[in-house]
Symmetry: D2
Amino acid sequence: MDFLYSQKSKELQLILTKFMETYVYPNEQIFEQQLNAQETRWSDVPPIMEELKQKAKQAGLWNLFLPESDLGAGLTNLEYAPLCEIMGRSMIGPEVFNCSAPDTGNMEVLERYGTKEQKENWLVPLLNGEIRSCFSMTEPEVASSDATNIEASIKKEGDFYIINGRKWWSSGAGDPRCKIAIFMGKTNPDAPKYEQQSMILVPLNTPGVKIERVLPVFGYDHAPHGHAEITFTNVKVPASNILWGEGKGFAIAQGRLGPGRIHHCMRLIGAAERALEEMCKRVQNRAAFGKPIANQGVVQEWIANSRIEIEQARLLTLKAAYMMDTVGNKEAKAEIAMIKVVAPSMALRVIDRAIQAFGAAGVSNDYTLAAQWANARTLRLADGPDEVHRAQLARLELKKHATEKNFSTIKS
Amino acid sequence: MDFLYSQKSKELQLILTKFMETYVYPNEQIFEQQLNAQETRWSDVPPIMEELKQKAKQAGLWNLFLPESDLGAGLTNLEYAPLCEIMGRSMIGPEVFNCSAPDTGNMEVLERYGTKEQKENWLVPLLNGEIRSCFSMTEPEVASSDATNIEASIKKEGDFYIINGRKWWSSGAGDPRCKIAIFMGKTNPDAPKYEQQSMILVPLNTPGVKIERVLPVFGYDHAPHGHAEITFTNVKVPASNILWGEGKGFAIAQGRLGPGRIHHCMRLIGAAERALEEMCKRVQNRAAFGKPIANQGVVQEWIANSRIEIEQARLLTLKAAYMMDTVGNKEAKAEIAMIKVVAPSMALRVIDRAIQAFGAAGVSNDYTLAAQWANARTLRLADGPDEVHRAQLARLELKKHATEKNFSTIKS
Amino acid sequence: MDFLYSQKSKELQLILTKFMETYVYPNEQIFEQQLNAQETRWSDVPPIMEELKQKAKQAGLWNLFLPESDLGAGLTNLEYAPLCEIMGRSMIGPEVFNCSAPDTGNMEVLERYGTKEQKENWLVPLLNGEIRSCFSMTEPEVASSDATNIEASIKKEGDFYIINGRKWWSSGAGDPRCKIAIFMGKTNPDAPKYEQQSMILVPLNTPGVKIERVLPVFGYDHAPHGHAEITFTNVKVPASNILWGEGKGFAIAQGRLGPGRIHHCMRLIGAAERALEEMCKRVQNRAAFGKPIANQGVVQEWIANSRIEIEQARLLTLKAAYMMDTVGNKEAKAEIAMIKVVAPSMALRVIDRAIQAFGAAGVSNDYTLAAQWANARTLRLADGPDEVHRAQLARLELKKHATEKNFSTIKS
Amino acid sequence: MDFLYSQKSKELQLILTKFMETYVYPNEQIFEQQLNAQETRWSDVPPIMEELKQKAKQAGLWNLFLPESDLGAGLTNLEYAPLCEIMGRSMIGPEVFNCSAPDTGNMEVLERYGTKEQKENWLVPLLNGEIRSCFSMTEPEVASSDATNIEASIKKEGDFYIINGRKWWSSGAGDPRCKIAIFMGKTNPDAPKYEQQSMILVPLNTPGVKIERVLPVFGYDHAPHGHAEITFTNVKVPASNILWGEGKGFAIAQGRLGPGRIHHCMRLIGAAERALEEMCKRVQNRAAFGKPIANQGVVQEWIANSRIEIEQARLLTLKAAYMMDTVGNKEAKAEIAMIKVVAPSMALRVIDRAIQAFGAAGVSNDYTLAAQWANARTLRLADGPDEVHRAQLARLELKKHATEKNFSTIKS
């Protein structure tokens, strides 16, 4: 057991940290100002973003996320983890390096399961940062935490599929650059439970696709990204748009969600780490009741607990990444479930303490704390709520100690 | 000991509940729509609000908050508590009945400490719901949790005071109807620690008063109310605008904050109660993994714990109100501090569970959960952060068991 | 709503407090010393206990627990609550006043459901403090949290019942003065689910009753009381020993457990209150790192939170007692379930903080903290584990918001 | 970063696990029975222990703890960690392999700082498992969490030291095989704060050493080990008994406590892991309310959270061990402080959940849960209470972000 990062990862961490300090943090407020200066916050993407992307590309900090592929930077999940963490320190960080959700997950799906044609049309421009994508799975009418509940339909008609359904939380669909959705729905309601669903590529400019609205998160609109509610009404796409094959929806979801989940966790660790740093600075520069706030025992307890919780979450994330690299996403499912439960709650606690230490400033947008909190809160729901992951972990654990007699009766 | 509400309070609870169901809840979305239909969200107050206020006045549901005064509805704090709770179930509820912060606290200050002239000019129109007010105490540059840190100055010059300072979180100052600020600052930096500060009335249209910006709370702008950052530059007001007298700032603050704090707690209990109700409904109408979500043990645990926590917080709030009525705000300081710590955290937990039960819908604005959560979060900071109240409670508790020898050495 | 105790209760509180200070606390260590001085800790009851009982009887502090009966002191549950709390401050307190478990519950059962003969034989000597009793319900082989699991049998044979079964956690059966058990078992396994069980009186000297062992609680033997495992082998008792009638076991259990549960909660509040007091004293008399421990912010947070949690638990207990007095134990079931969940966990937290504040002394027997903690821990299990009460509360809450359609599908 | 154990460690894990299953677990109850069969529980050590020690020695499972020394098994801290964890699964485990506290810490002190003569006299028999030792540091009269409070005196008189003081929690001194104490006290009260204390070897049979009593832990006597209160009255030992030199007490304590602390953490992880296993088995073999307890959502949440918390604590422990091996105990101080805070609380939570899942059986001694809980609870105090470690962590964290200006004012 060796707890050191690889030399390659350490070098990239240095370069990336420098890049964040030089280019990203100083432009966070500018990004927001450019957004507000537009006719509406949805009119366009702030120009600073494309400038930063160009700089990142030049610095070789591009597509760092894609393991086991010639198309990425050739990093393992384990090597990528600390980099993703650093990017996650800023709400605008990941996109700068073309490493933001949901594109990374979608690109990984296209890389793993896409046809040559699908790759040319969608993966290449995504990798180039020319377009963006969304993932249309969750539906407003059903508890989508149980993916078998999903009701959208994908019906074969000749060389086409006809798609109908209402999706929401299609994150990124608000962005004018978003051109393609990975859509999940039922191709065969009569198939075995886990073979009813398929995934299919739906260009957003196809007739019948309508963005109904974008949903706020705790008051944040997340422009220009946006969490869209989209109706798909008799949307017709070529049969070749299907991903991998009919009935493969669940299999792809499993494959997609592993990396997607761990990327979120890495970013959350970065957000928590930054919150802790800012808290440490703030409390040393403000005084109350005759002494620096840093001298208050309760504040010291917050700091100590935050360090402890971040450290533990990071180690668990790294272990999960290591397992994905060595035994594969499927074998790493317990570890992925664990960090998916741990990281959002950890980040929420750490950021909440920082908010409390900042006083009223903490709930405003003068600092990124409140926005990062709101983001972290969604991740106790997105990609499976905590409760679903815990139930899975319990089943795995119970199985280890099941006798033939008792196990047959255990259900979630 | 008798745990029943008075007959009078019970009758008003029924009328008020009916009013909320008939007029308030159905207009929550309309309020928001009218706000969005304006040129900006700050242009004006949605017309529905003034309509609802007229209806409430006609129904005799007006100024219910003011105890021990001919000007209010003649209710004790204890009688008012369940009514304030019911109003607090809706973000737009309290204003409808002219019972919203910070006006109730400001009106109570004017009623207790105002001169005849001050009352005529400001209390009367406030009680009539014609104007609104703000409270300018907190400053961005210092830890205002320690009120002795406040640095704004109020200098006597002949028959006037000259006011200078930068304040923020002057809630309500964004509202076009907001006409008057109660301003806190130092009249005499050389006086004993708790006699340096004074409160003074500052009409917002006085030259030198500038609203710099309004601060968001977790992405919510809280329009048209608004949490303003205001600069006061050589603002000149008549000497008669002083409240009670020079050096009385702390004494008034103590008096003002008791009722203000408990009102917030009452409203939070209402918000929590509504969240629990909505959770109970939602989980019985959605299924996952083959059974209603309500059948999941973890969800049942959330419901049970929420009921338990609401019940306890309500009892403590009522006891504090009872003590304010019987032994006075000062003697009730421990109980007020206790509920000020308890209610916001309780509401945050209950609402957070409801959010989790609602899934992604919970973080959006389709329900009031996320907005209520954000509001509750600010109340772990506003009117004194939890930590300050806990330190006060600890001191009170330690004193009970102090020997002469040991007590002299105890400091916060 | 009136938060004051009745005059009668307040006077008794004063007398009782004085009695505790004069006689009970100073004899806690003596009780233990007398116990250790015997041949074994089970040989006999320390003489000091009978002395204290005589003193309490003379002071009129006897059988304070029995409401709505000529046989007790004529106090309501609400009047008794603060007295029971005061007794609960000492592990040896309740017995001194003939108010200890499981006798109070058993006496209440005999008072409510006993025949004239049963009362003469058992209730009278119990009320006199001449004998003690146990309650034999829980079984080692099944999850007794679900009382329908109970498997012991009570079979009618002519004018007798033949009893067979293995019970454990028959608390008090270790005491040489324990003469009678209330035994629960199945008289009719074919009856409807809640009518299969009956309760019957079993004198402990009946042939076939064998105390197999006494069970420790976190290392405490609880001598001379003792938590016994008892086998009942073809134990023959007169048919007239049945309580109320065959099939009434569940009905009696419901009636018995309400008062039993709330008494435990009252005592726990006393235990927590004493722990808080001792913590406040200790931390003002010890210094570390250059200042009294009381000056440490974290310790102050423990103190404040303890006060807050005790206060809330007490209010909830009082409300439950008030409801038992006014609408009856059955209607008060939600409130009883709530305090049964709240009080043990509250006491555990408060006592645990005190232990931490005491340092290593806290886990020893030099103070009563560790013993009280262990006792409180059992009460998250005894008389129904937390989880069962929470499930009941959730069902009650969900029912309030059930539509006809959804409710039929809700199960615990 | 590589999350695999070394081949050597993995092989030893297998052998050790087999040994535990074959010899240790089956003898836990026998150990207790032999203890009870003696005249008193303090008369002698149960013979089974010496038998098991012989078996362990033969199996090569002996003194596995001592890194960087020819005298141990040649394992690093990282290699030892999983082994120590496995031993810690049983309360009697560590001693079987001569790896129990406080001997491992004491042996490490003798190995690092002992003279040749000291090693011959004490280290050799300790390594052989012929004698045992205790560590006399904590004092009843002062808050020993601040080691500068320690008041015992060690005075030079010619070629001897005269020792006076009262110590308690000298764990292991109850054991008849315990022959030697490492005693901490002041040699020079006028020296700089951290050079006043020294450590010295005191044979327990020296005149003036008196074991006053043994202290229980939550009702457990921990015989034959025992936590002793010892008075030292004019105890005279040769000057050569001093360890390292006068004034080196703090320096040795720092060195000693690192390994001692992490060993405790490793054992606690083992205890937690076993509790989780037992919980998983139990809940699959008991039913309540019509289904296995394992099917209850709340129980599944306990299991999932337990797995998550164990996993994180283990990773942090391993990282701390890795750092001790690579950069040394001093550089690893933050990591050691972190696990010292994390592991006891984690174990307490996991074991407490198991207790709740076991029902009343959980608080008894039929399973090792209650005893392990009590043991874990002491470790939130022993070797520094949580609060001291958190304060240290906060200082380290604040320092990273201190400006020259602010840091000078920060105190714990």
